[in-house]
């Protein structure tokens, strides 16, 4: 079993790839789901970022997306194993409906994350490291530099688009 200080960065990288990939596949950078998400995207663009990335960040703020799904799935697997992760997916779906979102990105992200994290638990990873990993992953997108993060997301969106 790897030491925790090695497990957490690996978990953060896996969570980052999973939630960005699911959000891009479900076209979050395309348009704001609500007015507020569009406004956040425009503001980030004004401050030197990219509109597509900013819109995706606005959407992450406004409704539980794949990043929230990954976090709650990690929490679910930590407290109750794979069934806990799937229960978290149901809760994310309900949360999406409350926020007037179709709910496909969040629920898909939560189900995929539950399976991924349960698999890594079998390999000897501790599920709590995925909670810390997901918090680090969201920090790199939403909490360090909005212009840089939005430009990176827009570049990844360019490959998909």
């Amino acid at each position: 079993m790897l030491a925790d200080f090695i497990q957490i960065p690996i978990a953060a990288a896996l969570c980052w790839i999973l939630f960005v990939a699911v959000d891009i596949v479900f076209r979050l950078p395309e348009k704001g789901g609500v007015k507020g998400a569009t406004a956040i995207g425009r503001k980030i663009e004004e401050d030197g970022g990219a509109l597509a990335g900013g819109t995706m960040m606005g959407n992450i703020v406004s409704s539980p997306d794949a990043s929230a799904g990954t976090l709650l799935a990690a929490c679910g697997v930590y407290v109750a194993g794979l069934p806990g992760g799937l229960a978290a997916a149901v809760l994310v779906f309900i949360g999406n409906r409350i926020c007037h979102d179709p709910g496909s990105a969040g629920t898909t992200g939560a189900v995929l994350a539950s399976v991924m994290i349960s698999g890594f638990v079998v390999l000897g990873f501790a599920p709590e490291n995925f909670i810390a990993g997901m918090v680090i992953a969201i920090l790199t997108i939403q909490g360090l530099s909005h212009p840089h993060a939005s430009r990176l997301l827009a570049r990844i969106w360019g490959w998909r688009h």
Partner: protein, 83 residues
Amino acid sequence: MAALIALYVCGLIALFAAIRTVVEPEPYRKLPYLNVMNFAIAGLIVLILAHPLSILAAAAYFVGSTLEANAIASTRAAVMEND
């Protein structure tokens, strides 16, 4: 032991995000920082209360706080549009 390291990581990130939320002058750009804090707090709820039902508490907290951020941003956008 593992849970303790994850707990400190979440706690420090929550504190960092809270400080950045307060320091950031632009209202729209406060919300992504607040979002990071909400992620960290939802993680902390489960790490501190390791019980199957705490996933309900974390989900309720997270969905509620997301809905609030959504309401703040959308209300502000609607009001600015009318001006």
